[in-house]
Subunit: 357 residues, 2 copies
């Protein structure tokens, strides 16, 4: 790696690679990361009006989508690059890969470049748990987990650590996915119960989390499966043409979303009329709208993933990396002696002796 000059102000960017992020999560502890991200999320959701928000920018192709998710407040800007290619696993690749940047709003300098594949799984699970703390019954102990793929273990652990879930009832159309989850979560203290069908997993559960990957308008949950008092955490219906909940589920109780303009296009509520009533999560966290109203109410969190969640997660990871002195500095931006002399960077390289002169 090129040695950065000691000159100020530095435009070097802290880089957290995927392997370094694994080590960071190891050193902090997964539970502490989930809790820390949930705290950062809550703090940022509470100052929702301060953010310059927009729906993500998507480039669709035959096999998938690549999206950019920018957001900023007065101090920090972030964006995430993330793809969604359901057929990728056949080729040995992940369905979802992501990375992102945190930048200084006052100067535009990129402060942190980070992997976000692992971090997205953590922040999605932390967001689900944060919403469930406001929307699920406080005595919830049993969660059904429909879809046991790449995101599922993170959901299970976030609900264990942040909500006190003790039992997770599992179903996936692929039994190997369920077996992988059970293997991965050995020794966590969670009671893991494989079930023969979605209906069997859902029956009697306090919370139902759906996190399936197929890019289709699927009916993972139908209205007849829903019991009074359930909280539905719908995570997998997150882009146009990709839904998980039958519309009867959406009319059974109040529906909560992250950012309505994006969710109406991408969420399970894409099936509903444009004026279908929804409440934004931040309004509940800020006390502007009520969360759960009674023990019998059905609540639905129709989650699609919003840029603010990546902002909060990047902020948490940036702090953690600095605290632990992790990551490395990279030169995304040229370090110029004179910022008005960009061309000089090329001349310097021609005649290295000029630099020392």
């Amino acid at each position: 790696m090129y040695p950065l000059t000691a000159q100020k102000p530095s435009v070097a960017t802290l880089f957290l690679s995927a392997p370094e992020m694994v080590r960071l999560i190891q050193r902090k502890g997964l539970q502490q990361c989930l809790g820390g991200i949930a705290d950062a999320l809550r703090a940022d959701f509470l100052r929702w009006p301060e953010f310059d928000k927009s729906a993500r920018v998507a480039n669709h192709s035959a096999d998938g989508v690549i999206e950019l998710m920018p957001i900023s407040d007065h101090a920090l800007y972030s964006f995430k690059y993330v793809n969604g290619h359901p057929k990728n696993t056949r080729a040995g690749l992940s369905t979802v890969m992501a990375f992102g940047v945190l930048a200084d709003v006052q100067t535009g300098t990129p402060l942190l470049l980070s992997e976000l594949t692992l971090t997205t799984a953590l922040r999605t699970a932390a967001t689900s748990a944060l919403a469930a703390r406001a929307l699920a019954r406080p005595d919830s102990r049993v969660m059904a987990l429909i879809g046991n793929g790449a995101q599922s273990e993170f959901q299970a652990l976030a609900f264990q650590h942040l909500l006190g879930i003790e039992e997770v009832r599992l179903f996936d159309v692929d039994p190997a996915a369920t077996a992988k989850l059970m293997h991965n979560l050995q020794g966590t203290g969670l009671k893991l119960v494989p079930c023969a069908s979605t209906a069997a997993a859902v029956r009697g559960a306090d919370i139902v989390t759906t996190v399936t990957a197929d890019k289709t308008n699927a009916t993972i949950l139908s209205g007849d499966m829903i019991e009074p008092g359930m909280h539905i955490n719908g995570v997998g219906g997150d882009c146009p043409g990709k839904t998980e909940l039958h519309r009867d589920v959406l009319t059974r109780g109040r529906v909560f979303v992250e950012y309505a303009p994006q969710s109406r296009v991408e969420g399970d509520i894409q099936q509903m009329p444009a004026d279908f009533p929804v409440t934004e999560l931040w309004q509940v966290l800020a006390g502007q709208q009520p969360g759960r109203l009674s023990a019998d109410e059905v609540t639905v969190f129709d989650s699609v993933g919003f840029a603010l969640e990546d902002y909060s997660a990047l902020r948490f990871m940036h702090d953690a990396a600095r605290e632990l002195h992790m990551g490395e500095m990279i030169a995304l931006i040229p370090q110029l002696d004179d910022p008005k002399n960009l061309f000089g960077a090329l001349r310097t390289a021609v005649s290295p002796l000029r630099r020392a002169a």
Copy 2:
């Protein structure tokens, strides 16, 4: 840097840092880079309808703007991150800093992460020259260059190499900027003539390039300065509230833009009514619309910078880096043994011995 596994398919990303880009431009030669990027630009502009295009996404703040510029065709996706902070130079930072990514549309895998601060200067100059080849008089030999800041040397050299410009007449409100340019372009064979005012520099020029940095609605060129047969290359009026050309200049001849929906918001034509007639450059290159009609016609290229130009430049730099075996591989994305087992990446780190078992 973490050693990447030899496993296939690899999700490693080629990284071209700013210092490595300096070395790459050195090894290829600046003239060859400008010509190669212009060739890539021309080839990509000719297949304009194949691209999924959108205006850039901008987050504005008190001191500047941070933008994302995505674009894709059936094979490749690219985006650029770029800021614009005119006050940055007071703090020793560049006004414009940029980096970007080239990705595989079929899988979403990021193939190349590259600095784009230097590369943007090259691609902007190459785009200006490409447009001028279609719009300026073929016998153009004298260019006025108004604004002698970070982009100016690249403009001068692109017009020398790609159009045969022999004399550049210089003006900047800051004489130090002009002195810097003259120092940087010593020995290039260009005749460099410092002038006392914009009007003096423009008088008798075949081509007038404006590339000033102030974020204001300025009048760098007024209608009385424009002579028959001139080609105006307006580069610095490139975001809302930032213009360089008096509206009388825009009505003196035909106006050409990169991508009309973006230019009507960001370009000098933001001063004009929404139906002000413009021609997109690709239409001229493709022979669908005429370029210059006569030796006396005034032509105006109102350039703001479009995502396709970064796509072309990233494609050129990716090919150059592979040809010269430059750059290094980095792990933006986790390399998973089983793509459905993201959580396994964390477990592996817990118990390294499990990997060997």
